[in-house]
């Protein structure tokens, strides 16, 4: 190999190395950002316990899913619930790189629910199975089939209920909602509280 090509190869390898090494540095930024940007105030210390039941638990959520939500809330593509009034002004001031760092940080706080977590038997669980929810979100809502789909096991009840309603009504249409919206007509409005109750109790 000519020495110039060797040089180019070496630079490419070190560039990839630098990109790989940069990843943990970003995760460290994510933790600092989570405090600095005020996220703790609503989502709780280390994102584990939201301060209001309508706010989602975030610790251990799929990073790609979180990043999609943050981006969509920032752009207005997602505007349901309190995302427009409360979240948007906050994330509007955060750069995309920092949003990615936040998402990666939250993803690193896993697991969202313990691998052995189970929810109570009953109508909610039956509905979660019969309405095909488990197919995408996994048994007990704890094994989403894609990294862009959220964990729902142990999520806050009021938040789950709001998302189901809004996805069914078309108020929320962002990201992977395109995959979920076409099946929501199978779920009666009266079914939703039981499903939310079941999922919120998966532990």
């Amino acid at each position: 190999m000519h020495s110039s090509r060797k040089f180019v190869a070496a630079v490419a390898v070190s560039a990839l190395g630098m990109l790989a090494a940069a990843a943990p540095a970003l995760a460290a930024d994510g933790k600092a950002l989570f405090s600095a940007k005020g996220c703790v105030a609503c989502h709780g210390v280390e994102a584990r316990k939201p301060t209001l039941p309508t706010y989602p638990k975030l610790a251990g959520q799929n990073a790609d899913y979180v990043f999609q939500q943050l981006s969509d809330i920032k752009s207005g593509t997602r505007a349901n619930g309190q995302s427009a009034q409360v979240m948007k002004p906050i994330v509007a001031k955060i750069s995309d790189e920092d949003l990615r760092a936040l998402a990666d940080y939250l993803g690193s706080l896993g697991p969202f629910a313990p691998a052995t977590a189970q929810g109570p038997a009953g109508p909610g669980k039956q509905l979660f199975l019969s309405k095909t929810c488990f197919a995408c979100h996994g048994k007990e809502g704890n094994k989403p089939v894609l990294k862009t789909y959220p964990f729902t096991a142990g999520q806050t009840k009021a938040y789950l209920l709001q998302q189901m309603k809004d996805i069914k009504s078309g108020k929320r249409t962002n990201g992977a909602v395109a995959a979920m919206a076409p099946v929501m007509h199978l779920v009666a409005d009266e079914d939703m509280p039981a499903i939310a109750d079941y999922l919120s109790n998966v532990k």
Binding site: V11, L16, L19, C136, Y149, A176, A178, P182
Partner: protein
Amino acid sequence: MKTVIRTLAVAAAATTLIATGAFAAEKGKSVGEAGYVWNSAGGEEDEALHLKPDAKAGKDVFEVCSACHQPEGWGLTDGTFPQLAGQHYRVIIKQLADIRAGNRDNPTMYPFALPSQIGGPQAVADVAAYIQTLKMNPDNGKGDGKDLELGKKLFADNCAKCHGANGEGDNDKFFPRIQAQHYSYLLRQYEGIKAGKRRNANPDMVKQIQNFSDRDTRAVLDYVSRLPAPKDKVAPKGWKNHDFD
């Protein structure tokens, strides 16, 4: 210097692509795009078509599918999920390959067409073979039955040439069986084909249905939903598939 920058850019792009998992099969062209060739084959579809299928192994694969398409493969009569029972072997392989290659957009279905969920080309062939063992729904979703005379004429003049005199399709030519399919599912696919939104559609069909009115559409699809499948392909009323009990 330029080469260094270019190499770095390629490295950065490659890292991003690998990280986002975008290194899936290459998307083909869409219907309506210059150079689009319907069923241009190649890729996983070709691979699967040349493999010897194992219906027994396909049963294990189908368990994933049964969550929505039901153990019987009947889907839902409201058309949310199509009936797969009775569908041709090659048609199933083609559609699965197209969905996972991104040639047919179906966000709900997409994860379940992926290798991570169902497996590689062998699994695609296997599940298509298992589906051949399933008998069809004797009571599929139908239209309102009010315009069948018009539907019959439209079908004979437009659809029978490819989909067969009874809507039985053609396995060799990859034309799907549409007889006894759920009306609402037919409607959704038909409208997607007409609008160019179903990107793996046959351009001859897209052209043919351009001038169909809403009334024509409802009439012909209602007629199709009522075309009976051959008796030996239809299950008795109330039949349940116990393969996944």
